[in-house]
Amino acid sequence: MNAALPLDTGTGPACGSPIAHESAHAQVAGRAPYVDDLPEPRGTLHAAPILSPVAHGRLRGLDVSAALALPGVRAVVTAQDIPGDPVLAAFAHDEPVLARDTVQHVGQVIGLVVADDVRTARAAARAVRADIEPLPAVLDPRTAHAQGAYVLPPVHVRRGDAAAAIAQAPHRLQGAFAVGGQEHYYLEGQIALAIPQEQDQWTVLSSTQHPGEVQHWVAHALGLATHRVRVECRRMGGGFGGKETQAGHVAVWAALAAHKVGAPVKLRLDRDDDMLITGKRHPFAYDYAVGFDDGGRILGLELSMYVDCGFSADLSGPVADRAVFHSDNAYFVPHVALHSYRCRTHKQSATAFRGFGGPQGMIAIETLIGDIARHLGLDPLEVRHRNLYDDAPAPTWTVPLPAGSTPLPPRRDTTPYQMRVEDNILRPLIDTLAERCRYAQRRAAIAEWNARSPVLQRGLALTPVKFGISFTATLFNQAGALVHVYTDGSVLVNHGGTEMGQGLHTKVAQIVADELGVPVARVQVSASDTARVPNASATAASSGTDLNGRAAQYAAASVRQNLAAFVCGLDGCGAGEIRFEGGWVLSPKARRRFDDVVREAYANRIQLWSDGFYRTPKIHYDKTTLTGRPFYYFAYGAACTEVAIDPLTGELRVLAVDVLHDVGRSINPAIDVGQIEGGFVQGMGWLTTEELVWRDDGRLWTTGASTYKIPAAGDLPPHWRIDLWPEPNREDNVFGSKAVGEPPFMLAISVWEAVRDAVASARRRAGLPADGPLPLDAPATPERIWRACQAG
């Protein structure tokens, strides 16, 4: 027995236990290195980007003489220095690696300066003068739509006859509103270190959610086969979607610079540059018309979404698709017409961000339901309840069907994209939460208090979440892993996922530990590495554990089967009789230490390592009509939020939050609660303080933490209760768990609806109409709330 390994006695299963993050102790001790902390290879140089100061224009030339004259500057890299394809290997193939003939947003990277140190590189990059002839710039999606300027063609999803259903409905509302984008504000900015190796081979250390894509993009830009490039990522200082594709650009730039100077090059973006260059959450604008009955049940909905994609497609297609897939949230809408326009603007290319279009889809219908309730004088929770998916028969057809339109489903359980909601738990979940947080009593108390209050008004809202789990691009729903058992019984796991703080490596270690029946401290998860598991999907879409955890489980199971077969041979029993528990291997005849079995198995030439591969079952859909079953299952949750606003200034305080969220059977409750809390607060930021402001000339004004305000510790509501729904995933998923990364983000829509509730109250007190759509766009900044409290 190796003394360095923990004792194998008395340990229960790892899954289900709230063990600490695998790096927690190293992180608090300051001993968890990120890319910028690693020792630099000898001769490492530093790069800084040269940025376009113009939103749209013809790039006529660059004057780099002043930059090159600065001491310590080694080179300037431009598009001419790209040995491979000057267009990024992104799937739409529409984005230049470095701007060539035109610039398409303020902050687009035209080139790089390479210098001995980062300060010199940054100062020199600012000394480069770009000769740009300005062209008209489009800065908002509605204008782009009016001009027919799209990065990808529009998509329409229709069922029944929405226009007719709305026209015949007893009540109608129509209007327009908008929600803002969001900066990821990962605390660790984008960074890559490109290190040339022998014989045209490359190592890239990248802070990336998608090492495989970084590998692909770098190889493509350098004109090399993929196997020449190895990408490694031990951990990121936050990702949130911002390091899915965006890390690729940074790595490609570093590699191009390294290629030109023939030395390792590190590119670490200054925060302001990072915010100016990289994509953010997509801002959305909406037009809608909704028809409903006296009880608030939606009869027909027509929703147009103008998606502000920025200058290139990036991930805008799947993001906009997911917005469509979530514009029902939890509600059955019989007649529906959804129009999704992927608008091209001269701004940063909007990209993945936690929720990936889901929040922008969901907030539309939640906003509408709040408005419907106020229009009818009903409690919004009651209206939400009435619209939930259920097994009841769908309404009978009342309007003539246009030719070729999809008929209504027989029951109220089918989404506009034709997927049946089979695992719905929202009714009991919402009822449990409403009871637990005393929704009805507080609703009454708040009304009474608001009537007495001279200025401040409070608001309350309880909103649900139903979030589809699986990559909408079906091919990404696959994963691989390697499990190595060494002769001392220690276990090393490598899988295709990346660690960005979400605890993926911890959960995978728990899964592998239980599969092998060893204490979790025996299991080490290695850095993500394209040389070990190839073609891995991005760690995204909340799928990290579902995919990689299962792949690792399969790999571990394979090793376990080898060991079990070996023990069967020794003891003359069946493989099903061998158990692996607490560091022991138990057969009907003997009880052996795991490490003893391993050692003996090795001596008998038994394979002690294996791969594992997993692909998500059941999913399929038609990409042109957006119909089918894009999701393996749904994750559910609900949140109740109370706020107070000051109509004089628009200031807002979030007073109390109660959450009941569905993670299935939790692999690690501490990590899952952490994801719920962090997601909620991030969503709250999106809808309250986090306002991206672009100037009229297209330059982003909010390029730092001094102007862009993510939530701070003081914004955490003092009443804060998070509970987990106690039921395993009804689909066969690893440990019975459900994905947790993204769904809780949308629980924060309860903050938005509570604000709107308070605004309506303030408007009523001011004698203003509050029974129609409220004039409020997101984020609900003080100025916006103030305006909404008094706009006629």
Partner: protein, 536 residues
């Protein structure tokens, strides 16, 4: 060492003198670093020169706190002073003679008693699942360590204290709940004490030599000059008027990290004992609170709060704690930003700024009402050979201004810059008539400014609704605010008036009425209480 040791010539053609040696107390010894350039940040020094990579650059503007380090020195009163500071915008030389800790030092420093593999602060944070991606974590550890050091061992931390201590640290992963829990749990763990006697000795040994060696060098301009006595400071200012003046460095750091300027010479006023002082003086017009320009914002606010306790919440919203620990009131005033929050308050309090220049018979003083100090956007009346010396706040024959109300409106409550700031000092007689009123406003003009028309509308009138309405109208019409990313002109104008109205409502409200302000602690707590009752 950094590569730019060959500094360019100064305005007089002579190269700057070499930077003085920099001494830090670190891990139980005095470490000397030579040839550290004047504009090297403490972050760069720690990460690149000392290899302490737990110190992270998150924003390079003092807003996120990932770079927070703990610094101890002897404060103006000679006592040991613990501060959490943003190393990203602090000049390395500003830490000369100080003790510095980073997250990895807490388990390596022989001066800290070991109670386990981790310091209690770190253990509590790990136990509470307070780190996810971990990038912000070392900064949180250091803010918590300073909170831990600043109190008797084992005394419980309240939620409010935790929030205040962490007001300059951003986390994007956790939502803060586990970190706040850790702050409250850390003092229950076995204490890890610092050997303060040894620390005092080391700090004394690390003190820089008196600067500059008298007489001032003839040709070479100083690379980094931080005189302790006022005469030397003013003489240096007069001799090298083009050398940038730095106090707390919370703005000067941005010249380096964001404007990418090279500073080959710096005049640091923060070591000057006379300017660090805060005291009360008696004069012909009564008592005066004199705040030296090099006093930290934290100390200055504490002194003001002692006279006007109602300002507590306003001060709590001024930046984050590391900026209040590092920045100076004099720097805030000299900087002259129209959105600086201390100036509207000081203007309302009737403060004067005392400017100092070198004179044959000692320092020469020039006194201006603060509102007259500002001449245009980021332009002040400061002459090339002058320094901001003191802020004088009249106290009358007790505390002048029985009532002071300060309001700030920003997108985020904590650590944000005002869209609008309004400060009102009020003196009402027993009949409720306004004897005197002074109003300072920020965010509504190119300079911090005084609202004279609104003051006139209040003066001599009964403090009642129609008077306040008239003053609101005056207030809203005497400025032409701009629109920017923080707020539109229309909003600024409207809110400026509404803040005055809110002041009136607060003074007129019945004691048992619902509160009228969200931006103060007490009403905020009252709201919570009612929430709790309804939930019970």
């Amino acid at each position: 060492m950094s590569t730019d040791t060959a500094a360019p010539a100064n305005a007089h053609g002579a190269p700057p003198s070499p930077p003085p040696p920099l001494r830090l107390v670190h891990r139980g010894r005095v470490r000397q670093l030579d040839a550290v350039p004047a504009d090297r940040t403490l972050l760069a020094l720690l990460r690149e020169d000392l290899g302490l990579t737990s110190v992270k650059e998150g924003c390079a503007s003092g807003d996120c706190g990932a770079c927070t380090v703990a610094v101890a020195d002897h404060g103006p009163d000679g006592a040991l002073r613990w501060r959490a500071l943003n190393s990203c915008i602090r000049l390395a030389h500003a830490a000369n003679g100080c003790a510095v800790w980073t997250a990895e030092d807490l388990t390596q420093d022989p001066l800290i008693a070991r109670t386990g593999p981790l310091h209690p602060v770190q253990q509590a944070l790990a136990d509470a699942h307070g780190s996810q991606c971990g990038f912000c974590t070392p900064g949180f550890v250091m803010s918590l360590f300073v909170l831990y050091q600043g109190r008797p061992a084992g005394t419980p931390v309240t939620r409010d204290e935790a929030v205040e201590a962490l007001s300059g640290n951003l986390c994007r992963c956790t939502g803060y709940r586990p970190i706040l829990d850790a702050a409250q749990a850390m003092t229950a763990l076995p204490p890890a004490t610092v050997d303060t006697a040894a620390l005092h000795t080391l700090l004394a040994a690390a003190q820089p030599a008196a600067q500059p060696p008298a007489p001032l060098p003839d040709t070479a301009a100083p690379a980094y000059l931080a005189p302790r006595d006022l005469d030397s400071l003013l003489a240096a200012r007069a001799r090298w008027p083009h050398v940038p003046v730095v106090a707390g460095g919370t703005d000067a750091g941005l010249w380096i990290t964001k404007q990418h300027r090279r500073l080959t010479q710096v005049l640091d006023v923060s070591r000057c004992a006379a300017l660090q002082r805060i005291d009360t003086q008696d004069g012909p017009h009564g008592r005066t609170l004199r705040i030296g320009a090099a006093a930290t914002l934290h100390d200055a606010f504490a002194a003001l709060q002692a006279h006007w306790p109602s300002l507590r919440d306003f001060f709590g919203r001024f930046a984050g704690q590391p900026i209040r620990h590092g920045g100076t009131l004099g720097g805030n005033v000299a900087n002259g930003s129209p959105i600086g929050d201390s100036m509207p308050l000081l203007i309302a309090l009737g403060a004067s700024v005392v400017l100092l220049r070198h004179g044959a018979r000692g320092p020469e003083e020039r006194r201006l009402p603060l509102e007259d100090f500002y001449r245009g956007y980021r332009q002040t009346a400061l002459a090339a050979d002058e320094l901001v010396g003191y802020l004088d706040i009249p106290l009358g024959n007790g505390t002048a201004w029985p009532e002071v109300h300060a309001h700030k409106v920003s997108k985020r409550f904590e650590d944000d810059i005002s869209a609008v700031c309004l400060a009102l000092a009020l003196w009402r007689d027993t009949e409720g008539r306004v004897v005197q009123a002074r109003i300072g406003a920020g965010g509504v003009a190119p300079v911090p400014t005084r609202a004279r028309a609104a003051e006139a509308a209040l003066r001599g009138q009964l403090w009642q609704a129609d008077t306040v309405r008239a003053a609101m109208d005056a207030l809203q019409s005497e400025f032409a605010p701009l629109s920017d990313g923080r707020a539109s002109a229309a909003y600024r104008r409207a809110v400026l008036g509404n803040l005055l109205w809110r002041t009136w409502l607060a003074t007129a409200a019945a004691p048992d009425a619902p509160p009228v302000r969200l931006d103060e602690h007490a009403p905020w707590q009252a709201l919570l209480q009612t929430t709790a009752e309804e939930r019970a």
